[in-house]
């Protein structure tokens, strides 16, 4: 095949059995990457079992463009049943592991069962070995990667692994490759730890075949140049996200504290990210074959080295009332080394700070650690205790809600989660369309999507972006953050575009968000690599099929319309200051946006379940039969 390498690897850790299945029969309907992974988990997961049941399939998905000479082609999608939500998990990581897996001969890996003893997988050019990991158990993610490269005698081996948090089944443990590329959300590290699987090491000398190599070379060089010259990427390559952070707070797009409010003046005036960047950024790095280097490699003598991007910049600053950038970096690096999701971790700390601030908990509840807003000790000790499952960290390791239940009903009231996860670090009270996307989204935080960024962009030039909104989504209101009108269609379109990038195994920041704002370029590159001749609509149709199958997986788990919601606070507590002072999410209008969205989707408005008609139109009749009944 061109693009795909043609084989799905299946591993049963209980029996030590290794088999393969061809990729080809799936590609017409699901393409690859996230989409094909959704079909695999729908078929392999046993309804009624929980996330730590050995049968829970942990699935790694590369796409037809992963590892190809297409910029931003280092992405891998990961899925399983999430221990946090009991719904379908979804996380995506970059770096260099995905391309190497394809060079070793596999498009996907489905891992089921549980090893009796700690083990790791060693995949090299079509050979698969389950190896002993007794010596690796307890190592952090950086040490693990080095130890495996040393043991196997090849520094070019790529490893994705869990840290001590995953071994201890911390609910929001993540997977790490390199020094900070993470499958961060939905607890994939916990699922992997539950299988006694420490790491997956890959090395390959094969390649990705290309249908039209001369043409691809020409187009791809052009894409490479366009990304490098794109203003957003010039900014990211030079400054990471540091310069945009105060702006995000200024426009009330990032929450302060535990979604307490917005527009924290201290952070707008005194954010030290730029100074930190100037002092400690050794260079900016990207994933495989990516000219848009959106990650910063920090080299700090006292704290350590590694990369980060995006969420920790707000998670370990504003969300925990912290202005000390050394603390931000120590917290980020600690999370990456221990293998826990920074977003959920910072939310946990934010929750404790709020509970302490409101006198709901005392230091007695947190092993005598005073949970003052912004306290360095509170931030760093909590991370260590979660990773080590010590004292109150053990409570948090079971999830925010489990911890709050222990603290009492007042604490439970405080918890802000969507579908079992901390809402992605954005504010929804002023940004209605963004709120809709978060609520109906597959995991509570599918941001950023194109139409959400459009709402943010509106702050920069209202008239211009209203015109963009009219051209793209047929309504100027789509761009106006505080308007409830015209928000369903942009959400619908953005969800489909996002899945095009995810299905192909390429970066959705570059394709469909920042550089190429629609699915046209991905479609062109897909055809050049695979030799197919698909129209853009065919790729978008696959996205719709994938979106519906994702929904049906969750419907089978019991998800209904009522679960598509936001934390109470967003409906009840208005913003007290800033440019969007007084904004709150109006419950009735919010529900109207949802109605419009379900209508567009062809889902039943009462239950939020896709209709049989819609499912049959998408070729998902078998799914309708199983979940809706015959």
């Amino acid at each position: 095949m061109n693009g795909w390498v043609g084989s799905i690897l299946k591993i049963d850790l209980t029996a030590g059995k290794i088999t393969t299945e061809p990729t080809e029969p799936y590609v017409e309907d699901y393409i690859g990457g996230r989409g094909l992974g959704v079909r695999l988990i729908y078929d392999h997961y046993v309804p009624g079992t929980n996330a730590f049941d050995p049968s829970n399939p942990l699935i790694f998905n590369t796409g037809p463009l992963t590892g190809s000479a297409v910029p931003g082609s280092g992405r891998v999608d990961v899925t399983a049943l999430s221990p946090m939500s009991n719904l379908r998990a979804k996380s995506n990581f970059g770096g260099y592991w995905g391309p190497e897996l394809k060079y070793a001969g596999y498009d996907h890996i489905v891992i089921q069962g549980k090893s009796e003893k700690p083990c790791y997988l060693w995949i090299k050019d079509g050979q698969v070995e389950i190896r002993d990991a007794e010596k690796l158990w307890g190592m952090d993610t950086f040490e693990t990667q080095k130890a495996i490269q040393n043991e196997l005698g090849d520094p070019e081996i790529k490893v994705v692994c869990i840290g001590p948090a995953g071994e201890r089944l911390v609910q929001f443990a993540c997977l790490i490759t390199e020094t900070g590329d993470a499958a961060g959300r939905t607890g994939m590290g916990a699922v992997m730890g539950g299988k006694n699987l420490k790491a997956i090491a890959v090395r390959g000398s094969g390649g990705v075949n290309v249908a039209r190599p001369e043409e691809l070379l020409e187009v791809s060089i052009k894409v490479n140049r366009e990304i490098r010259e794109n203003p957003a990427y010039l900014e990211l390559a030079n400054w990471g996200v540091s310069r945009s952070i105060p702006m995000m707070y200024e426009h009330s797009f990032f929450p302060v504290g535990y979604f307490e409010d917005v527009c924290w003046e201290d952070i707008i005036k005194n954010y030290q990210g730029i100074e930190f960047m100037e002092k400690y950024q050794l260079k900016s790095l990207g994933c495989f074959n990516c000219p848009g280097r959106c990650m910063s490699f920090f080299s700090h003598a006292d704290i350590g080295k590694g990369v980060t991007s995006c969420e920790p910049f707000s998670g370990f600053t504003g969300a925990v009332w912290n202005l000390d950038m050394d603390v931000f970096w120590e917290a980020t690096l600690l999370c990456n080394r221990m293998g826990i999701d920074g977003t959920e971790t910072s939310a946990c700390i934010g929750l404790l700070m709020e509970l302490y601030h409101d006198n709901i908990i005392t230091p007695g509840d947190t092993d005598d650690i005073i949970m003052d807003r912004g306290s360095k000790e509170a931030i760093l000790t909590t991370i260590r205790k979660i990773a080590g499952r010590e004292g109150y960290g053990d409570l948090l390791a079971r999830g925010q809600m489990a911890a709050a239940e222990k603290f009492g009903p007042e604490a439970v009231e405080k918890v802000d989660q969507i579908k079992g996860l901390a809402p992605h670090a954005y504010e929804y009270r002023a940004y209605k369309g963004t709120g809709l996307i978060a609520a109906v989204g597959h995991r509570g935080d599918p941001l950023p999507l194109r139409s959400s960024l459009l709402e943010f962009d509106w702050n920069m030039s209202a008239e211009w972006f209203q015109q963009v909104a009219r051209e793209k989504y047929g309504s100027e209101d789509a761009a106006i953050p505080t308007s409830y009108k015209g928000k369903a269609l942009p959400a619908f379109i953005s969800e489909h575009m996002e899945r095009v990038a995810d299905n192909l195994g390429i970066c959705k920041w570059i394709y469909t968000l920042f550089v190429y704002e629609d699915a046209e370029m991905p479609t062109r590159l897909f055809n050049l690599v695979t030799g197919k001749d698909w129209e853009i609509d065919k790729l978008l149709k696959v996205s719709e099929r994938v979106r519906n199958l994702e929904r049906m997986f969750d419907v089978r788990q019991g998800l209904r319309r009522a679960d598509d919601t936001l934390p109470k606070k967003f409906f009840e507590q208005a913003l007290s200051k800033g440019k969007f002072k007084g904004e709150v999410m109006d419950k009735e209008k919010f529900e109207q946006m949802k109605d419009e969205y379900y209508d567009l989707r062809g889902w039943d408005k009462v239950s939020g379940i896709p209709t049989r008609e819609k499912l049959e139109e998408l070729g998902l009749g078998d799914v309708a039969d199983e979940v809706l009944g015959l």
């Binding site: 390649g207 495989f288 280097r293």
Partner: protein, 166 residues
């Protein structure tokens, strides 16, 4: 046409492997870094990456050691190339290269050597950081090449010793 050479400024390299991948697409019509004629040695935990490519030596060890005179200089570009019909696959050139810049196709043992894409190198076009540039040979070019090359042992030492940026 004047001779050209690649200048590698390893300090700028982000380790993205675009040079390797596009090189294989251009020369082998496949996306496979293992078939690249340039290779990036990576210390990802140190943020140090060193692209390795043919230095087009004055007295090339690869040429001197070849028992079949298969390695030769292309006088149109200055690149050292391998005549596949003369090559017997003994790999003498690979072992003789002091820079480790002569590569082998892992599937069939064929020697892979940078031919400078006939004077218009693909890797230079796609390198996002300017870590690989291509310049006409001159005294200044060589001085620059030497200056950048002399940084490499220091970087490697730093990578192995784990020192941090001041």
């Amino acid at each position: 046409m004047a001779f050209k050479t690649l200048i590698i400024d390893a300090e700028k390299c982000s380790g993205c492997r675009a040079c390797e991948t596009y090189c294989s697409l251009k020369h082998e019509q496949v996306c496979n870094p293992a078939k690249g004629r340039v290779h990036v040695v990576k210390w990802e935990q140190e943020g140090i990456f060193v692209p390795i490519n043919c230095m087009r030596c004055d007295a090339p060890a690869c040429e001197l050691t070849c028992p079949k005179q298969a390695t030769f200089r292309n006088y149109a570009t200055g690149a050292m190339e391998v005549d596949p019909y003369r090559c017997i696959g003994c790999l003498s050139c690979v072992f003789a290269c002091p820079f480790g810049a002569t590569f082998v196709d892992p599937k069939n043992g064929r020697v892979l050597k940078c031919d400078l894409c006939d004077g218009d190198p693909t890797c230079v076009k796609v390198c996002p950081t300017g870590a690989i540039t291509c310049e006409e040979v001159s005294r200044d070019t060589y001085l620059k090449l030497i200056e950048k090359a002399e940084r490499i042992p220091q970087l490697v030492k730093q990578a192995l010793g784990g020192r941090v940026k001041k």
